[in-house]
Symmetry: C2
Subunit: 338 residues, 2 copies
DNA sequence: CTGTTAGCGCCTTCAG
DNA sequence: CTGAAGGCGCTAACAG
């Protein structure tokens, strides 16, 4: 007659109640800090909780109260540093509360997003944070028809479902263009990565082109990699771009990873950065600022975006009438490469 | 007569059952793919699910079956790339299953780990994955007394509670020492970051010292930063180390971030890497391999560690008698900087 | 192959 | 300030 020690053998409210000599309900009140309880009672309950090592079962709580203390997070990937940073901001904001993040990774794939969203929804989170505005119709429907709060983050160039927190990548790209023009560069090239998945990078690109157009010029040439951004890719792509266009005077990169790789190419090829070729990135990553010449770039604050999204979401339980757009802004980092 | 779609009005098994004209239980069976069901019935149920947009409530399921389809993950931080990579591996393995990861970030703080563990436990996960062996007594107790499976990952230099997946950092450090000695370096320095929090870095350091000692030599000098690792820190620390010890012939860094920073210092200071000063890292990050001279380092595979941990954990529901240690190994990357 | 009957552990409502 | 019912949505036995 073996009693297997299963999870179900964890102490419950009843156990605590018995030990403390009170009703189940009173324990529940103490745990949730709700209603008024005599100090003596509270202490006795707390003591019982302590000695039993009682941990409330959230699944039961969630079921009974239909409110889960869970925030669902949908990220396209974790390999691009910006997403872990975003997640850090989310976790930081959540730490102050009793909410937890349930994270899903979509691999930049809208079908997967849809599938993962529905498994997140199975836990009945109170809110969802998702990167970007691109969703399948069904995803949009699920997001819309459930009462839960929704934050679309990183980007504000679009129509939010509920809350949008981020920056205008179009504007950031535009300002990149203005900056380069202002510095006197005219033979400008572009090195990018696969933006069928990364809509934000495309927006920056479009902003950049617009700025150049307004200045009466345009991109001399561009090199686009098929895969995701990386230093290696940036390095290779700058190489092939320069092979075609040896006398560019500046190159804008889709982000800092790519630009850092570009910097490495210049080192290897003996190209004097800025003097002969200016480099410009996006993100403001630490690595870019550690380069022998600090990278000229645009700093966006992913941590703040994540934190702000959580704060805005948890402000009200119910989705407000009006859509909210929070512009967390960005900052041109002059650096020394452009 | 419209009905507002609130969370509580989300369709349940009963709704589906009614629409399909079967019992609640039959629907449940279809959803869980359990037991045998007539094809016609199944189809009718599936259709009902489809039209109602039914998403099973996991909280209820978890409560009823005392099994949660949740894996708790405890990470010290997300700012060091290795942890997102680990998490990617975990997510990749979990994608094949119907499990989900519930992640907590401990900030390298054992007290916080304890606190976060207990909030993870509130969801009654079936398993916990945690980085490293350092836990408070209470954490250890919680981990031990609950029936759930536990994987301690990244590191195998310790006594696992249940499963350990990772590599021997002591050995990796030792092999770093052997490598440098083998290359003929004798005036070797060390640049590290705060290892009161990063026990693995300290193990590598110790392994390194041991290798040098066995070769009849020892570290000439070392520079330790107070904060976390970063390229900037590596750059600064190498600078100050060289100020004290101008004629080192090699420097081992606590990891690739630091080593990359060291590389940048050499560029700025006009020090010929390898010819005058060899650099050696740890991790095998992409950035190191994109440098003008690919970084000499040790590659550990965080993705595989995460994936393996999940696989091992989900193999058996119950903790086996014997502790399991899975050595995922590492690989010396010769590179061109040492 | 399908339905019935009890809970899972907690929270809400209503009494006291 | 505290207790007693009832039920959240689902699953685990059983029956049939």
């Amino acid at each position: 007659m073996r009693e297997i020690m299963t999870q179900s053998s964890m102490p419950t409210l009843v156990h605590v109640a018995r030990l403390a000599g009170v009703s189940e309900n009173t324990v529940s009140r103490v745990v949730r800090n709700k209603g008024s309880i005599a100090d003596i009672t509270r202490e006795r309950v707390l003591a019982a909780i302590q000695t039993l090592g009682y941990v409330p079962n959230r699944a039961a709580g969630s079921l009974a109260s239909s409110g889960s203390f869970l925030v669902g997070v949908l990220l396209p990937s974790l390999s691009n540093v910006v997403f872990p940073e975003l997640l850090e901001g989310i976790h930081a904001a959540l730490r102050q509360t009793s909410y937890q993040a349930l994270v899903g990774v979509t691999d930049y794939n809208e079908e997967q997003e849809e599938q993962i969203l529905s498994s997140l929804l199975a836990w009945r989170p109170v809110a969802i944070i998702t990167a970007g505005f691109d969703h399948t119709a069904k995803t949009r429907l699920m997001l819309d028809s459930s009462a839960l709060r929704v934050a679309e983050v990183m980007d504000i160039d679009g129509e939010p479902i509920d809350v949008a927190v981020g920056l205008s990548h179009r504007m950031a790209g535009y300002d990149t263009g203005r900056f380069l023009i202002g510095r006197g560069y005219r033979r400008i090239g572009y090195v990018g990565h696969d933006w069928t998945t990364d809509r934000r990078a495309r927006h920056r690109y479009e902003g950049l082109r617009q700025a150049l157009a307004e200045a009466g010029t345009s991109l001399v040439d561009e090199a686009l990699a098929a895969g995701p951004s990386s230093a290696t890719t940036g390095r290779e792509m700058l190489g092939s771009l320069l092979r075609r266009q040896p006398n560019l005077d500046a190159v804008a990169f889709s982000n800092d990873d790519m630009a850092t790789g570009g910097f490495f190419h210049c080192l290897s090829a003996g190209i004097a950065v800025r003097e002969r070729l200016a480099l410009f990135g996006f993100n403001g990553l630490e690595i870019g600022q550690a380069l022998p010449l600090p990278l000229s770039t645009v700093r966006s604050n992913r941590f703040v975006i994540g934190k702000t999204a959580v704060e805005r979401l948890l402000e009200h339980r119910v989705r407000p009438e009006d859509r909210i757009v929070v512009d967390t802004g960005y900052e041109i980092v002059e650096g020394a490469t452009a």
